[in-house]
């Protein structure tokens, strides 16, 4: 098979899961630049090894398994070789978004921030299931282990996330109300303050 023919088949399989891969990278890395790097690295590694994938129906699991490995490897390097100052916390969860509704941007920021509080395997599982749309079986392939292990991880992650989001909603509401009283007449001040609190652009 020529490289160009391989590329066309690869892209046909990639298209339906492209957005899912982006969502996964964003949720794992927590910032736009690292997410872009992860997507590019995954794309090239998946393309280079594409001929080894015998069952093309397993493309989704194949792609996300590569993304997961790449992320783990990069994350390990980052922890080992970088100081805290090189990757300041304020840059985390600072996404470029095409979403024009500030409330939705705040909600998405809250969700990703809450997800960062979860243990790594739970965060992965819930991201793969809820944002990337993988089935339980596909997640089992990506993460390894048993199906019941995946189900348990998802259940615990959902419980913890619901708790964190309830707390987050309360604090945003308090912030919104407080600022609304202070800033009557100032356009969008409330939204800007909430966004600043969440480190959203």
């Amino acid at each position: 098979m020529t490289e160009r023919a391989k590329k066309e088949i690869f892209l046909t399989l990639l298209e339906p899961v492209w957005q899912n891969l982006n969502g996964y990278a964003r949720a794992l890395t927590g910032n736009t630049e690292d997410a872009k790097d992860l997507v590019s690295d995954t794309l090239l590694a998946a393309f280079e090894n594409f001929e080894k994938l015998k069952d093309k129906d397993a493309f989704k699991s194949y792609l996300f398994t590569i993304a997961r490995r790449k992320y783990k490897r990069n994350n390990w390097r980052l922890r080992l070789f970088s100081s805290y100052d090189e990757y300041p916390e304020h840059e985390a969860f600072n996404f470029e978004s095409r979403e024009s509704d500030p409330d939705i941007r705040v909600d998405v920021g809250l969700l990703y921030k809450a997800m960062k509080e979860l243990p790594e395997k739970q965060r992965e599982a819930i991201t793969l299931f809820e944002i990337s749309g993988l089935s339980l079986q596909e997640i089992q392939v990506v993460q390894g282990g048993t199906l019941s292990g995946v189900k348990t991880r998802l259940k615990r992650a959902r419980e913890k996330l619901a708790e964190l989001l309830r707390e987050g909603e309360k604090s945003v509401t308090v912030k919104k109300n407080g600022n609304a009283l202070k800033n009557i007449g100032r356009n969008n001040k409330m939204t800007i303050d909430v966004k600043a609190q969440l480190n959203l652009k």
Partner: protein, 52 residues
């Protein structure tokens, strides 16, 4: 299902729905262009060095 679980599910669904629909990092065309650049680079390497 308990009332608390129902509420939790409603909260989670709202957030996940927004996250699923909100944004993507780069459009599909960019995936094509990344691959095309990669293939062009490989071909050039092959032309210059005669092997992978």
């Amino acid at each position: 299902m308990s009332e608390k679980m129902k509420k939790d599910n409603e909260i989670l669904e709202k957030y996940f729905e927004e996250a699923r629909n909100s944004q993507q990092l780069f459009p599909m065309e960019q995936a094509r262009s990344i691959l095309e650049d990669h293939i062009a680079g490989k071909l050039l390497h092959l032309k210059v060095f005669g092997r992978n």
